[in-house]
């Protein structure tokens, strides 16, 4: 499938934004200035971006505790995200959600989620809305290999199939649920699970943007075409720990180093588009510089932005009470 130049450039920028956003958080978190905890998406950028490049603002996604990448890929503003992670009143959730609850319904981002397996049932509901309202949109649940074992996820695969919902289930398989390997915790295969619930299954290498874009395009077209749900299984490597501060004593020392060396989605993307003569390296360097500026200014602004005030504590529990 031919991908438009603008899409490629936008996707490259989104992947670079995720990378720099997360690398910067890794540094800033270590200073102790960021409250709570954060889960970084570095290494997995091509998954969120490759999937979301097939979506519009009308389509809905639900994310996970490792949600920054999905937010950026779906179009949530970086400044508002950074301010949120710093707990500022200018944050996209006014400082009341934090890293694990960033949501922006205006661009179809139904929320990161602090509960493993929390998203798939919600996506069944979003898909039901799309189907009932006849708006032609699809709903996409991102979830990890860990969440793939949750009852909520398995129930959702069944419900989506029973109701023939325009839903896509994206298993982001980074090999670990917290500190336990998928090879230990996941019985059988994702492929067999999709088959068991009567939906098509596609898998791809998550370090290859083009492979993800192609596979996600097929899964999303299937769902959008009114053929019911599909499962996309993306094979990934997580470059950091489960959360920041995780010493990753459960991983062999070379595991992440090899992934960084051989499976860096950004490097692979650059090589491919420059070798194909689609972009000059300098054009991509310009994108990198612009993204670096954007992240720098987002951090500076977030650190300087106002904190929530006491009345905010009681605000927005209900629409009316």
């Amino acid at each position: 499938m031919q991908i438009a130049r603008e899409t490629l450039l936008r996707s490259y920028r989104a992947m670079r934004t995720i990378r720099m956003f997360e690398e910067r958080l890794h540094v800033e978190f270590a200073t102790g200035e960021i409250p709570g905890f954060v889960h970084l998406y570095c290494g997995e950028e091509a998954s969120a971006v490759g999937v979301c490049a097939n979506l519009t603002d009308n389509d809905t996604i639900a994310s996970t505790h490792r949600g920054h990448g999905h937010c950026i890929a779906k179009g949530v503003g970086v400044a508002g995200m950074m301010a949120e992670i710093y707990g500022r009143s200018t944050g996209v959730c006014r400082g009341k959600g934090g890293s694990m609850h960033i949501a922006d319904l205006s661009c179809g981002m139904l929320g990161a989620n602090g509960i493993v397996g929390g998203g798939p049932p919600l996506i069944c509901g979003a898909a039901l809305s799309h189907k009932t309202l006849g708006d032609g949109a699809v709903a996409v649940a991102f979830y990890g290999d860990g969440a793939s074992n949750e009852g909520t996820t398995l129930e959702s695969l069944n419900l989506a199939s029973v109701w023939q919902l325009p839903a896509v289930f994206v298993v982001e398989d980074n090999g670990y649920g917290e500190a336990t390997a998928a090879s230990y915790a996941c019985a059988g295969t994702q492929r067999a699970r999709a088959a068991a619930f009567g939906m098509p299954y596609i898998e791809c290498d998550g370090s290859d943007y083009f492979a993800v874009h192609q596979a996600a395009g097929e899964a999303i077209a299937h769902a959008r075409g009114g053929n019911g749900p599909a499962m996309l299984h993306v094979h990934l490597t997580r470059w950091y720990g489960h959360f920041e501060g995780d010493a990753m004593t459960y991983r062999a020392p070379n595991e992440v180093a090899e992934a960084r060396r051989d499976h860096d989605c950004l490097r692979l993307f650059r090589e491919r588009v420059t070798q194909a003569g689609l972009f000059e390296g300098s054009a991509l360097d310009e994108v990198d510089a612009a993204v670096a500026d954007e992240i720098e200014s987002a951090v500076l602004r977030a650190k300087d932005d106002p904190l929530p005030q006491a009345p905010d504590l009681m605000a927005d529990v209900y629409v009316r009470y």
Binding site: R94, A103, S106, I115, P121, L122, S156, V319
Partner: protein, 342 residues
């Protein structure tokens, strides 16, 4: 206006709201029933106790959705649909089944608005049956409204009669927050005059079913009827009672409770939920904190013991609050004498 049962009142509220607003949908286990069965019929049940009977016929499969027996996925789907443009009414059948889907209610639907900085609306109604008195035993008889009341972001409604059920359910469906709507399973055949047209009853505004001078009785759901029967008997003994039906436990009409206690100086709370951390303890704490000086006797709670709901009729009767137990509690509070310390 005509006599309608609790069941008919709820059915009528659903039907009228579904006619008014095409985004209102129903989902749940056998809300129609019969899909795929060998008889080839649909709307075989209309809900396990027939409350949603006939709605499938009128509104069809896109508005009345039978679900697999998977509470987590469809309650979660209802939450997800609510936040993306529909107004789902999901039926959980027995409220005891919340154990299978609490995350989707407690961590998802209830918290969207706050966690997302006020940017979400989740117009979701979850209907469920509650209460003992049906010999349904420990897993089908609980009165779990304190559990929901505890969770910020949820509203909790407990109708005490057919009239109340219709007006409160219409309010629940039109409300933009998640609402837990609890129906006492023993009350479905109770009848009273219910207007034919749609009407609403606001949340957080208690109903005084009678006013008296001596004792305030606060009761919920089915217990409102019990409290009024007890008050009738007590009237004959010269004791006059105010009976408050708060209608909703969240929001709770604190002002009406405090005003009535200030007038009578005595308070009895009737609550059929398990006695620890229930509505009776909540209201007792409220009154102790805000109206201590108006009390002329200790607060009395008429509640079940701290046990699962038993099966055998004799044990279930012992377990439940009753008219007699309420009468005894009111009498005890009237007989209380303050002993002045010398």
């Amino acid at each position: 206006m005509s006599k309608k049962s609790f069941r008919q009142a709820i059915n009528e509220a659903l039907r009228q709201e579904m006619r008014r607003d095409p985004t209102v949908i129903l989902m749940g286990e056998d809300v129609a029933g019969g899909r795929g069965g060998s008889a080839g019929v649909t709307d075989a049940w209309g809900g396990v106790l027939g409350v949603t009977k006939g709605l499938y016929e009128e509104f069809g499969a896109t508005r009345v959705l039978d679900t697999p027996i998977t509470e987590a996925s469809y309650i979660g789907a209802a939450a997800g649909a609510a936040v993306t443009g529909l107004r789902p009414v999901a039926e959980l059948m027995f409220v005891d089944f919340v154990g299978c889907c609490l995350d989707q209610i407690m961590n998802q639907a209830a918290k969207f608005r706050y966690m997302f900085g006020g940017k979400a609306r989740t117009p979701l109604v979850i209907r469920a049956m509650y209460g003992a008195g049906f010999n349904a035993a420990a897993q089908h008889s609980q009165a779990l409204y304190p559990l929901f009341t505890h969770i910020p972001g949820l509203k909790v409604v407990i109708p005490s009669s057919p009239y109340e059920a219709k007006g409160l359910l219409i309010s629940a469906i039109r409300d933009d927050d998640p609402v837990i709507f609890l129906e006492n399973k023993v009350m479905y055949d109770e009848e009273e005059e219910v207007p034919d047209e749609a009407y609403t009853i606001p949340f957080g505004e208690a109903n005084l079913t009678r006013e008296g001078d001596d004792v305030t009785i606060v009761a919920f759901g089915r217990m409102v009827g019990f409290a009024n029967q007890a008050a009738d008997r007590l009237e004959k003994k010269g004791i006059s009672c105010t009976v408050i039906d708060p209608r909703t436990t969240s929001p709770l009409d604190r002002d009406t409770i405090l005003e009535c206690v200030a007038d009578t100086g005595r308070l009895v709370i009737v609550d059929e939920s398990s006695p620890r951390c229930n509505m009776a303890t909540d209201i007792a704490a409220l009154v102790a904190e805000e109206a201590f000086d108006t009390l002329r006797a200790p607060i009395r709670r008429v509640v079940p013991p701290h046990t699962p709901v038993p099966f055998a009729t004799v044990l279930e009767s012992l377990y439940m609050p009753s008219v007699e137990k309420i009468e005894a509690a009111v009498t005890a509070t009237m007989n209380h004498r303050v002993v002045e310390k010398v």
